[in-house]
Amino acid sequence: MAEIYLNNKYLGTVDNPASFVEDIKDSRRKGDVSQYVNVHLNEQTDEVRLFSDAGRTQRPLIIVKEGVSLLTEKHIEQLEQGEITWLDLVRQGVIEYIDAAEEENALVASIEEDMTPEHTHLEVSPGAISGMATALVPFGNYNQSSRLIIGSKNQKQSLGFYAANYHIRMDMDSNLLHYPQFPLVKTKIHDVAEYDQHPSGQNMVVAIMCYDGYNMEDGVILNKSSVERGLARSTYFKPINVSELRYSGGLMDEISVPDKDVKGYKSEHDYRFLEEDGIVYPEAKVCESDVVIGRTSPPRFLSSLDEYNLSAVVRRESSVSLKHGERGVADFVVLTENEEGNKLVQVRLREERRPEIGDKFTSRHGQKGVTGMLIPSADIPFSTSGVVPDLIFTPHGVTSRMTVSHLLELLGGKVGALSGRLVDGTLFESEKEEVLRDELLQSGFREDGTESFYDGRTGKKMLAKIYVGNMYYLRLRHMVANKMQSRARGPIQLLTRQPTEGKAKEGGLRLGEMEKDTFIAHGASLLLKERFDSDKVQVPVCTQSGLIGYYDARKKQLISPMLGEDADMAYVEMSYAFKLLLDELKAMGIYPKLVLEDKY
């Protein structure tokens, strides 16, 4: 007597749970029950759990009966002829979808040879145990699993041909790789996912070697000449949205070139790219502080009196201009309405991004690196046949991470390039290394993939043989151009008068508490004081009351808050933050009396 639950709700009992479960499975395979129904028999608790709800992940498996796969040679033939499709196999009960619960009752064989009479299912492909992105890593089964995960994560950040209609889209921050290529070493998933329709990398000639240390600690060296010919070049798109907001009293924003009498008018130079409608003209090369969309807003605090006195109403400038360090070309302008029916202007900026020092690159094996140097082709080592690598990768990156697939892809890529074919690196079903080596030998190269190299600068032959081949490299979307920032002087915070923080506010890098400690530990007190002078002020302090006074410009003298004009005042240098602390103490009702003393 087993209890039956449907979607975790009690339904009733059944005397023979095993045959009940089999019946349901059979009806599903016949098509009487939906393929989305799964059943799980728990023998320990004597429960049968049926599931038909949404949100479970299912995966397809080939059904095995008495140690024989139901998928026959005939099926495969028909599939190849195009007579039947995948869905027909599901309908015929050759393939079924099972969920995590039902999988507990199943014994799945990875490959056909492993099957025994106990097995209930067979994997469609042994690589089906991995997800989509993971299956895109070639030769993945030669790797440590953690590297596989990193490799699949990196691919999600790569630049590519993300949408064919990119030129009419208004995506937030999108990147487009120029001349994307299909990988020389592919997996079956690349075909299934139609990767040739949206590739995201380029097949580069990669040499695994050192070169003056510019690729140490996960750096990569790029061939400057290749980059100049368009290697890994991309375009960065960034939209700017401006809408006309409505305010109380029927007042509205207005998108237009602001008049000169508007409050906060910048300078004529800043508005030079605007057309009569207040929007930049396409193909205008804008940079830092140039206005992209001109806009004026009604005054902020309108008193009831001002409403009648129109002459007093001065509109406020609220144009959108490029921030510090930004630049680009006005690419595309859209005039539309937002959800509330207000006028909305979108301007897309375009910027060509050539690879530069600091840009991030990766292979598909979790071997990411940052460009350390761009070297002209003439100075880069070249092979006997005159091949110059596009990218130089460091050998130290391989030993500790044990990414064998990285090395195999290099070999496979070389074979593919020489034979003019695509090499298959599908998980567990990849082409064998020996076969690839053999093919390489047939092509007239050393079978281990190494070649003699000559230093481009001296022409001298290198002592070591260099492992060189073709690899699919991806450009990742972390580019220095978006992150680089510096400051010597700049904006400060209103409250503390200390420099602002963060790139968006053109902020400084904080010399924090522990950094301060290192100065003290070195005994560099006076240097430390100068580092903290960013908010230094000189305040007049009353020597009698010990309170901070002020300078009365009309009377041209210092005033003490307690003793007035007759006080003996002295200027004291302190940090503004400390002055703020004194003010806060006063607000607490504490009298912080400064006792002054002559400095010398």
């Binding site: 301060k516 003290i520 005994g523 006076l526 908010d535 400390f578 009298y591 010398y600």
Partner: protein, 379 residues
């Protein structure tokens, strides 16, 4: 010693330990001017090795302990050579010591025995069992309540009793005082309790059972576990739970080496100098077990600071931080409002003599380049 007199002349310039070392190392063939030269050279080196005025040793110590601390594996419970005994080490223990916690996670002692006894494992084991606090519950195999007779019967572990060297009589003796109002009798490995006079409720027997369970039969209070271990060529006893004063009174114990890891207990029993050494030893033990390399002098400084007042004080807002002279320095550590309000009530004056308050005001810190002042003669 050949040049003892000569070396003695330098007593004011060098510490005695250094002078002793010199006189031990000087070859007998050395002439007087040679010895003089050696000592003078030593004085020079000694002076150079000393910390300069204005060197902020505290901060350097803090950094030197703090930085390796970041590499310490958190929460490693590591077995000090033996199973069964779990001792807090790693960062949790370091924090425990520097905070000078009153109750520590795993109090323990290392009991050393005097010469003839410490080589014989059997004797050491016997001693260990002797000091272990044994409660009745451990000796009882079964508690039985006879509802009909209204009696509570304890069946005892005979072998265990023999191991501990206890007899039924001993048990009866220590139990009798606790069980007034009951008739207690024993025989054949059993102890039975019957209510004197008319028994009221069976519940009372249950209460009695729970009451007598934890009654100490033998050993030293608070020592819950003992473990004899080999240390070098002798056997010592590790205990979990500490009771230094009672253990030191035992004649077998070597009081010069036995110690506890409870700083307050060491302070109470052995005095503040011992507590200072205990802080150093305990911290150093952890650092060593983590394979880190921190100069002892940094730890010495911390131990000194913790013990200067004569009591062990932690580096907390209730401990040594509360003794800082500057209000602003105290306020910048923890609970600023409390310190500022109290200071204002007392009319405290901050002389701005230490680091934090000067950093706050953007003044030169009185250390290193900020220390020297200028003296001029005004005409």
């Amino acid at each position: 010693m050949k040049h003892a007199d000569l070396i003695k002349e330098y007593e004011k310039d060098l510490p005695l330990a250094v002078l002793d070392e010199i006189s031990a190392l000087i070859p007998t063939s050395a002439t007087k001017p040679q010895v003089k030269k050696i000592v003078e050279e030593t004085i020079l080196l000694y002076k150079q090795a000393r910390v300069h005025a204005g060197e902020c040793v505290g901060l350097v110590s803090a950094e030197s302990i703090g930085e390796p601390g970041t590499q310490m594996t958190l929460n490693t419970f590591h077995f000090a050579g033996v199973a069964e005994m779990n001792i807090t080490t790693g960062l949790p223990r370091i924090i425990e010591i520097f905070d000078a916690r009153k109750t520590i996670k795993t109090p323990m002692m290392e009991v050393f025995l005097k010469a003839p006894n410490n080589k014989d494992i059997e004797k050491v084991r016997q001693f260990a069992l002797q000091i272990k606090a044994t409660i009745l519950d451990e000796l009882v195999a079964e508690y039985a309540i006879n509802i009909f007779d209204q009696t509570l019967i304890l069946r005892l572990h005979k072998e265990l009793m023999a191991d501990y060297g206890l007899t039924e009589k001993d048990l009866l003796k220590s139990l009798k005082t606790r069980t007034k109002g009951y008739n207690v009798s024993s025989g054949d490995g059993e102890i039975s309790f019957t209510h004197k006079g008319k028994a009221e409720e069976i519940k009372e027997l249950y209460i009695l059972k729970e009451k007598i369970r934890a009654v100490k039969m033998k050993g030293i209070k608070k020592i819950t576990q003992v473990l004899p271990v080999k240390r070098g060529d002798e056997y010592i006893v590790l205990t979990s739970g500490t009771n230094l004063s009672d253990v030191l009174e035992l004649p077998e114990v070597d009081p010069t080496r036995t110690f506890s890891n409870d700083l307050y207990e060491v302070r109470a029993v052995l005095g503040i100098e011992a507590a200072r050494q205990a802080v150093m030893n305990e911290v150093f033990k952890v650092i060593e077990s983590q394979g880190l390399n921190i100069d002892v002098r940094h730890i010495m400084l911390v131990a000194d600071i913790m013990c200067v007042s004569g009591e062990v004080k932690g580096i907390t807002r209730y401990g040594i931080v509360s003794e800082k002279a500057s209000v602003l320095a105290r306020a910048s550590f923890e609970t600023p409002i409390k310190h500022l309000v109290n200071a204002s009530l007392e009319g405290e004056v901050d002389k701005l003599t230490s680091v934090v308050e000067n950093v706050m005001m953007n003044q030169a810190v009185p250390l290193g380049t900020g220390l020297p002042g200028l003296v001029t003669k005004m005409k």
